[in-house]
């Protein structure tokens, strides 16, 4: 998919470029930044991450499974130890909790991967090694007819380099 990538060395110019682009209906933007910066979040005002749902569900499943396995296994072959009840929820809370944490965090990680589309095998077009170093990158996903306009816009805002990618 064709598009234009602009590399910035100053953060504020990158932000201005993004704002301008969005004003001029360039909506398919991707920003590359070495470290998460609030400026970009404000500029892009993307919807909040949906990771939380996965975490919640994972945690609940985990807690349930933790309790269930302990209770079920104890009752499966009931043997009395120390005169204690066969299955008792008090000590089994430990399993509920530990498995909740386990499954909860694993599903969180799964969510992170799924939502942010990693792992991916190939480096997508437009990415540049500088973006993990000192530079900020703005990728404009656009058709060839508006490409010129976007490129100019990026240069105007002080992009160090602007490149067409196809």
């Amino acid at each position: 998919m064709p598009g234009i990538i602009g590399a910035f060395s100053e953060i504020d110019s990158a932000v201005e470029a993004i704002e301008e682009l969005r004003r001029t209906r360039f909506n398919e933007l991707t920003v590359y930044t070495p470290t998460p910066r609030h400026e970009f979040e404000h500029a892009l005002d993307a919807p909040p991450s949906r990771v939380r749902i996965f975490t919640l569900i994972g945690g609940l499943c985990g807690a349930t499974f933790g309790y269930w396995i302990a209770v079920w296994a104890s009752r499966y072959w009931p043997l009395v130890v120390g005169g204690k009840p066969i299955a008792s929820w008090v000590p089994y809370t430990i399993f509920g909790f530990e498995v909740m944490v386990l499954i909860g965090s694993l599903s969180t990680v799964f969510a992170l991967f799924a939502l942010s589309r990693v792992p991916r095998l190939t480096m997508t077009v437009g990415y540049d090694a500088r973006f993990s170093g000192g530079h900020f990158g703005v990728w404009v996903n656009t058709t060839s007819d508006r490409a010129k306009e976007a490129a100019d816009l990026l240069r105007r805002h002080g992009a160090v380099e602007v490149r067409h990618e196809a």
Binding site: T30, S49, A73, I94, G104, S105, L112, L115
Partner: protein, 497 residues
């Protein structure tokens, strides 16, 4: 964020900038971070020497274990009814150390404690390797280690399952969970940094490896958005986990009738002790690293200072716990407890008990002095004492209790054998082998997070950041602080900026 904008005369310096926010005056821009951190990955001769030593120790441990498996647990120094010994002691010791990492990376993350940024990667790696080490010991101390999997609930043709009321099964769940979560946490944090390494790497082989490990991370806004959120939740999960895991370990003792074990104080007491010992190990590791990797301007004296305050705090809790135990025994009127605690400090085990008290209660008091808190050499020496003291704390909990129980006819003593010591040595070899391998393959500081606290380039410099840098320009205690140490660890580092 400090708001005091008034310039200070160079004479009276402000040693304690609020450590909630970290500032790295000696770090100019993002590229410098990349450059300096990646520079630490170059293997040196000293590193190879250390690694070789570690592996040698590990081999000694492995051979001792092999011998023990072959001829039976009797080769260790067990002296019934002292049925637990060096192995359980060392298990608790390593688990304890495994706690500071997650504490620093998770809890301090939630509390937004800035001094965490520069040390948490080290601490986290330390956690994972410490748990890997600790995890060996429950298996290693079994009479029939080859049957350890019977503690894991899995469907089997015996139709019989683990006994879920046993603290040892709680351990299995707690430790496996803790290992999984903390290693995941470490890896997730590493991904962006690995991506950075990938982009800086020239050697094709290493580049390929980094690319695979980085999972094709691109630093895109979308990735960052989910990343920050997921990271927050992981931290939120890890925080109670840290507390639970060592509580569960403490249940191994608290659930038993044994005088000296049967106490409700154990969970908080153990958690505090764990964090304390963990901080000790953090110092033991981070101080040489910042010296030899020349990173004094990342791990600043402010960071050490703040960490030292936390160490002092946990030390006070631990000390209080020691005293409380005696008070409880005294007030309880329980003759078993009273005779046991008397025997602990004035009886056959006095020497061990006093090592514990001096190392964990008395010496850390020195951290009330700000001068010593900001003296890396002292912190490092103290940390060694803390490690020793915490090992002996576990010794004092395990051995004297078992050797002086309800039944006087079975009172006895205990002396480890060379097998115990070899395996103890081997555990250190195992731990440091992993850590050494880690610190030359992966960034020991979170590059992307360091960048968060380094002001980015701007076309129109930001007023808030003017004040930021000016403030630093005046109050610059760290650098001078370093030079105050005559030949101290930091001295060499002073030259880097």
């Amino acid at each position: 964020m400090a708001t005091a904008a008034s310039p200070y005369p160079a004479s009276e310096q402000r040693p304690n900038v609020p450590s909630a926010s970290v500032r790295l005056p000696a770090v100019a821009d993002y590229e410098q971070v990349d450059r300096e951190i990646i520079a630490t990955l170059r293997p040196t001769l000293g590193w190879f020497a250390l690694l070789a030593t570690a592996i040698l120790c590990l081999l000694i441990g492995i051979s001792a274990w092999t011998y023990q498996i072959y001829s039976g647990l009797g080769v260790a120094g067990y002296n019934p009814p002292v049925m637990w010994g060096v192995y359980i002691i060392t298990f608790v010791f390593w688990i304890g150390i495994g706690h500071a990492g997650t504490l620093i990376s998770a809890i301090l993350y939630l509390f937004r404690a800035g001094f965490r940024t520069s040390i948490y990667r080290c601490a986290e790696a330390m956690t994972v390797f410490a748990v890997m080490t600790a995890g060996l010991f429950p298996i290693l101390h079994l009479g029939r280690p080859w049957k350890f999997f019977w503690l894991i609930p899995y469907p089997n043709w015996r139709l019989i399952w683990p006994q879920f009321k046993s603290p040892l099964v709680w351990d299995v769940f707690a430790i496996l969970t803790y290992f999984t979560v903390s290693s995941t946490f470490l890896y997730i944090g590493l991904i962006p940094d690995i991506a950075t390494m990938r982009d800086r790497e020239t050697n094709p082989v290493r580049k390929a490896i980094y690319s695979a490990l980085s999972l094709g991370w691109r630093n895109s806004d979308r990735e960052w958005r989910h990343f920050t959120r997921a990271y927050l939740f992981l931290a939120a999960f890890s925080t109670p986990l840290v507390l639970s895991v060592h509580s569960v370990v403490s249940f191994d003792f608290a659930m038993a009738l044994t005088p000296g074990w049967h106490a409700t104080i154990f969970p908080p007491y153990f958690v505090a002790g764990a964090i304390f010992s963990g901080m000790g190990m953090v110092f033991t590791i981070i101080i040489p690293i910042r010296k030899f990797f020349k990173l004094q301007h990342y791990v600043t004296l402010n960071d050490l200072d703040a960490a030292a305050k936390m160490t002092l705090f946990t030390s006070l809790i631990v000390g209080l716990a020691y005293l409380t135990e005696f008070q409880i025994a005294w007030l309880s009127g329980n003759k078993y407890e009273q005779q046991y605690f008397w025997n602990r400090v004035f009886g056959q085990w006095a020497w061990a008990a006093w090592i514990m008290i001096i190392c964990n209660m008395v010496l850390p008091m020195s951290l009330f002095s700000q001068k010593l808190r900001r003296n890396p050499s002292w912190l490092w020496i103290l940390s060694l004492f803390i490690n020793l003291g915490m090992w002996f704390e576990r010794f004092v909990i395990v051995v004297p209790s078992l050797s002086h129980e309800f039944e006087p006819w079975q009172w006895t003593t205990y002396a480890p054998t060379w097998v115990d010591y070899s395996i103890l040595l081997g555990s250190f070899g195992w731990f440091f082998m992993w850590f050494l391998l880690f610190c030359k393959q992966l960034p020991i500081m979170a590059i992307s997070e360091l960048k968060e606290v380094v002001p980015p380039k701007r076309k129109h410099p930001h007023p808030e950041e003017f004040e930021h840098s000016r403030d630093e320009g005046i109050a610059h205690p760290q650098v001078t602080g370093e030079h105050e140490l005559p030949g101290g660890l930091g001295a060499a580092g002073g030259g880097t900026h």
